[in-house]
């Protein structure tokens, strides 16, 4: 006797959402993938190459696209999930525009928002011509041209770690985990693209937590001659030649340091997605002190929402790299299936 396949709604079409949807679809579930943007793919759409091995981001993108292209998946774009509510028959989902969907289970994969660099006013993002974010730099890599606002070739680039992370002044005490290794990756890419361009990373701690990250850091010093200065940049301004002037303490020398830069790259961190926060508030999800969703147990129940039939996947719970996001999404699928079969 053929049973009607159960229906799972996945909120968010980023890496976690696509992986979770794909895994569920493969197991025969009927999946609705709700994405707020025009296309699924999330922040990965903006990447040129990935750390630590600098493989083209397209490789992972096409894997996910294939995954989410399964015939059991129905993708709804330009839509957000406003609210989820458990009831004895399943989970009722309210979508933007007021439509309601019934699902047997929901996976929340609303992801993260990038820190808005304007908020660190002292760095002058949006004011000084050559202050850009790591995302802007990635876009430059995508275009294959790395240049200043006036079209000239930079001779010195500084990458500022921890912009919007580990910073009480912007209400983010958490570490976004991936920015350090992103900075190292981008520093190497800059050096490879413009061998005569000096590259400096300004860091507070080098958090090379993942496999081959430390090796990449070493390579950046040994092979690519990337410079590292330990200290948080306090302010930026421009001089008469329209070159950026930054101030930092070289904490290893114990002395303040001033340096001119052609381009200053802000390594923007991760924050709880605004859409996710709204969903959390409407649905009664708990948010931790870092604003990310707080799971049932952060050791062994990291996908549990506390609401029956609702599970968390990916960076809506904490900053993660792609590897961890995919693993986390698979774990969410396992939890969902266990719930649906019970």
């Amino acid at each position: 006797m053929k049973t009607v396949p159960k229906h799972v709604l996945v909120a968010g079409g980023g890496v976690a959402g696509m992986e979770a949807a794909g895994a569920l679809a493969e197991m025969g579930y009927r999946v609705t993938l709700v994405e707020k943007g025009d296309d699924p793919g999330g922040h990965l759409l903006q990447w040129h190459a990935l750390f630590p091995d600098r493989r083209p981001a397209d490789e992972v993108r096409s894997y996910l696209r294939k995954r989410a292209g399964h015939h059991n998946i129905n993708i709804i774009t330009r839509t957000t999930v406003e609210k989820v509510r458990h009831h004895p028959g399943g989970v009722r989902v309210t979508l933007s525009g007021g439509t309601e969907e019934e699902a047997d289970a929901v996976i929340v994969a609303t992801g993260f928002d990038l820190f808005d660099a304007h908020r660190k006013e002292e760095y002058g993002y949006g004011i000084y011509d050559n202050v850009i974010t790591s995302v802007d730099l990635e876009a430059m890599f995508n275009r294959g041209r790395l240049e200043k606002a006036d079209g000239t070739v930079p001779s010195r680039i500084g990458l500022i770690h921890c912009v919007g992370s580990r910073d009480e002044k912007v209400n983010n005490n958490h570490c976004s985990k991936v920015c350090c290794v992103t900075a190292v990756k981008q520093a190497i890419e800059v050096r490879q693209m413009l061998p005569s361009c000096e590259v400096f990373c300004f860091y507070m701690d080098m958090r090379m937590y993942g496999p081959y990250y430390e090796e990449l850091y070493r390579e950046s010093q040994e092979v690519h001659n990337v410079n590292f200065i330990r200290g948080k940049v306090s302010e930026a301004s421009v001089n008469i030649n329209n070159r950026l002037v930054i101030k930092v303490e070289d904490t290893l020398a114990g002395r303040p340091l001033k340096m001119e830069l052609d381009i200053m790259v802000l390594m923007v961190g991760m924050e709880m997605a605004e859409s996710g926060a709204k969903l959390a508030e409407a649905s009664g999800f708990r948010q931790g002190i870092n604003s990310f969703l707080e799971s049932g147990d952060h050791h062994y129940g990291n996908n549990l929402s506390g609401i029956k039939g609702v599970f968390y996947a990916g960076t809506c719970t904490a900053p993660m790299n792609i590897t961890d996001t995919i693993s986390h999404a698979r774990a969410a699928v396992a939890e969902t299936v266990r719930y649906l079969k019970a």
Binding site: E121, Y125, I127, D129, E235, S237, V238, I240, N242
Partner: protein, 353 residues
């Protein structure tokens, strides 16, 4: 530089500046060294703009220098400030206009403290009552007097006799603005435009036709720093801070510096002479020094008041080249003559163009 970026920030830091009825508190330094500035602030507000500004002769120093010099405790200064509020309350004023940036910082600090720790407000009420028998209402707003000039900058521009432009070429003057640290660095929301890109002086200068210079050490302290300056042995540190600013602004060849803090105005003016003595360097075009003006003085010039009435001759760096450039007719012979023609004391060590 992207101007829209700054505008975005300025839009975020707009404070409430009342329209009328100010209780005016003077600055120890400004009334001593730039007496014309305070006098003309009152004159401009009352006569040119028709505003009601009340002054109480019983008003005292806020003791800010003592507080920052670690000799006056916080409880004491709260009580002194509370007494000012009591005077305002008694006179029926709810908007304080503060001439001094140090005082402004202290008022901000105290109001924030009372907001976050209401028990300190109660304690202060008690202290003030015990000491003076007075009671007070917490004022509705506090404004630095530069905020008020900022608010009426367009009105002043409309009445302008002179603009901040080179009268001969019509090109805007290059103006360096300097904001006192305690204006908004401690509490950005208390300042017009916040702490990183304050708009208070930029707004005035741009309304009156000048160009603002954004130079690398724009945010740097003038070096006053109370304890640094008060202890003679530490003055080298204080001086060093000013020199750092001058060296950073020098390549832009600025015509003048406009400051909103009396301490900064005094230091950046006086130190130019000290640096000339110690290092043998005079900044500014042709070694005339860079005139350091208060915003009241600049407003006064724009409105066409006599520079010598405004007191520009009592700055170390004299403003004659600047006045000539703006096309203001000022007789150098009359600089140190009183209204009745008698001779005023002439300061030594002027940097004179």
């Amino acid at each position: 530089m992207k101007p829209e970026g700054k505008k975005r920030i300025w839009a975020e830091y707009q404070k409430e500046i009342p329209d009328d009825h100010f209780f005016y508190v003077r600055s120890c330094i400004r009334q001593t060294f730039f007496a014309g500035s305070e006098q003309y602030f009152l004159k401009i507000l009352r006569e040119d703009l028709g505003k009601d500004v009340y002054e109480d002769p019983r008003h005292t120093t806020c003791t800010g220098i003592g507080y920052h010099g670690d000799v006056v405790p916080f409880e004491t200064i709260q009580t002194v400030v509370a007494r000012h509020f009591a005077l305002a309350t008694e006179a029926g004023y709810r908007h304080i206009a503060i001439s001094c940036v140090t005082s402004f910082g202290i008022y901000s600090e105290i109001l924030e403290t009372w907001k976050h720790f209401p028990e300190t407000l109660e304690r202060t009420r008690e202290d003030l009552y015990k000491a003076t028998g007075r009671t007070f209402e917490v004022p509705e707003t506090i404004s630095h007097t530069s905020d008020i000039i900022y608010k009426f900058r367009e009105e002043i521009a409309r009445k302008a006799k002179y603009n901040l432009v080179d009268a001969a070429t019509g090109k805007p003057l290059k103006v360096v603005e300097h904001i006192g640290c305690h204006y908004s660095k401690m509490f950005p929301k208390y300042g017009v435009g916040g702490a990183e890109f304050p708009h208070v002086l930029v707004g005035m200068v741009e309304s009156w036709g000048g160009d603002i210079i954004d130079y690398p050490e724009r945010r740097h302290c003038c070096g006053f720093g109370f304890r640094q300056y008060l202890v003679q042995a530490n003055r080298g540190y204080s001086l060093f801070a000013s020199r750092k600013k001058f060296e950073s602004m020098e390549p832009y060849r600025p015509d003048m510096i406009i400051a909103n803090c009396p301490g900064c105005t005094m230091f950046m003016d006086r130190w130019q002479y000290t640096i000339k003595e110690i290092d043998g360097i005079t900044y500014g075009a042709e070694g005339h020094g860079i005139p350091v003006l208060t915003y009241e003085e600049v407003a006064g010039l724009v409105l066409g008041y006599d520079p010598w009435e405004l007191g520009l001759q009592y700055h170390n760096v004299q403003s004659l080249p600047l006045l000539r450039k703006m096309g203001i007719k000022a007789d150098p012979e009359r600089r140190f003559l009183d209204r009745d023609g008698s001779r005023l004391p002439e300061p030594a060590n002027l940097i004179d163009g």
